[in-house]
Subunit: 331 residues, 2 copies
Amino acid sequence: MNHPAVLSSRVRLARNYEDLPFDAHRPGVAETCVSRTANALALSGEDRGFALLTMASLGEDRRDALVESRMISRELAASPDSAVLLQEDDRLSVMMGEEDHLRIQAITDGLSLDEAAARCFAVEDALSRHVRFAFDDQLGYLTACPTDTGTGMRASLLMHLPMLAHHKQMGSVSSIAAKVGLNARGYYGEGNEALGDIYQISNQITLGRTEAEVIATVTALGEQLSETEAELRRNALAERRTATEDKIFRAWGILMNARLLPLKEFYSLWSALRLGAVLGLVPVSPESLDSLPVEVQDAHLRAYNEKPLTGEDLDAARAARVQSVIRAAKR
Amino acid sequence: MNHPAVLSSRVRLARNYEDLPFDAHRPGVAETCVSRTANALALSGEDRGFALLTMASLGEDRRDALVESRMISRELAASPDSAVLLQEDDRLSVMMGEEDHLRIQAITDGLSLDEAAARCFAVEDALSRHVRFAFDDQLGYLTACPTDTGTGMRASLLMHLPMLAHHKQMGSVSSIAAKVGLNARGYYGEGNEALGDIYQISNQITLGRTEAEVIATVTALGEQLSETEAELRRNALAERRTATEDKIFRAWGILMNARLLPLKEFYSLWSALRLGAVLGLVPVSPESLDSLPVEVQDAHLRAYNEKPLTGEDLDAARAARVQSVIRAAKR
């Protein structure tokens, strides 16, 4: 079944070396993590397609762009001794010298946590042939932060839920999620913001549940939200068609014509446009719009334009980028 | 010289019959005005193209549409015994049984008060061959309201002044106008509003100045405002090109895509779009947009759609009408 509300799936595994202190900021720890992991992957023969990027060697814009793409964490970007093994096209990364010694992460399209998990475990398996991870028979994998101990796994979905947000249902969604050990929160913005009506659904609990159970629980909530969202969409078209179309086509008109597009306004218009794409009202597919929230962020715009853009120039570059992506996507 | 800020010119002459009480609401007065005037115009042989419309015979929507087009006054529309002699295509009308016995009015395109005045005087001349108007050698033409006595003439320009409005200059424009006996005020909206940045410039004074002097004074202020507006436009393009274009193209995008367009929002977007047309930024001429502020009013929309539209249906019809007019105007 198709779940257009699910933008992407992500799994990440926290792993630590049993013989190293659980503190990557201690001198030498991060460097050892990096060299040991890179060697182990090379020895396993599974290192094809991976690039080894040390934070110290990357410019600030490149690091920021990797953070925007979620290929590395903000914490990793800020640690000069750390590094990432990266298959950028496949959105597969091994962060080394973050809070944990290793964070293996895979992002996949749509609702596909099984696939994302399989990619992470393939990397973990390859490494395990040559290194030993801290593991306790009672607790499972040991981690820097106790909230990750157990499976060390975080499975999350990025979801676009404009109708649930419109009907102010995300508060109760959060409560329901918490009851089954999951967390639902706005992904972009500060505090309680959920810019673009984009939410992240993820597991809170890593202890006492198998990886398969966690993936099944997150997937089930994702499916349920997706179906509720679809029902609200159908109701909106049946009961408020003109007002719904008005919002969507106004967003289309502004996105295709503005010369300056602040990031916050972009999110709001993008949300309406993607809703229109899911409803088949505008001549682009939802999938063709899914990369935009990342593409229009500052470091991505600087990289795309090969210019150190700031202020109004960023807003101008954002408008131009949106228009070129949408024009290219037009059926 | 071209003055794109001037939307239209209007002249109206107040005239009264010397043998009738100056009160059209007194029984029989309006009827006498109507029959006498219609007969006089017929006798003069100048009645070709004129339709005689009595208010009692017109439906409310038709009366409202004539008020929206400024072919009749709201007061005339509310007086069942009154009537209008109308050359609708030429925007020439003779209101009978309004505050004054007669109000002869001509509207012409752009800055052309001389032409509008000539049309009014042609009608007045034709009537004068067969009727006598109340005239005093000292005061001039006598009128129901003393503020019209003298020439009985009101000359006005409808102007689109978005840059003067943007720079909050209309307060001082008003003060300057008052010093030369003119009045400058927002044309659409309540109180101090000037929806669409549309202003009316007209003479306050009808006594002690010839018709030619009044027309010259109003024309001179119109030219001056037009030139100031043009200078501010040039500055906006030179100094804030991206922000100026952003405002204009957003207006284009919303006007061409909205499914619901409230009247107030229409005015604001129309103003930005027409500025873009004057600046040559959008592929339509300013003139092609000049009828829109009238075409999108309620009675016009009802007449165009041949439906008794209300509420959201009016906003939907307005959006559709705007889009069809702009599409037809596209170069």
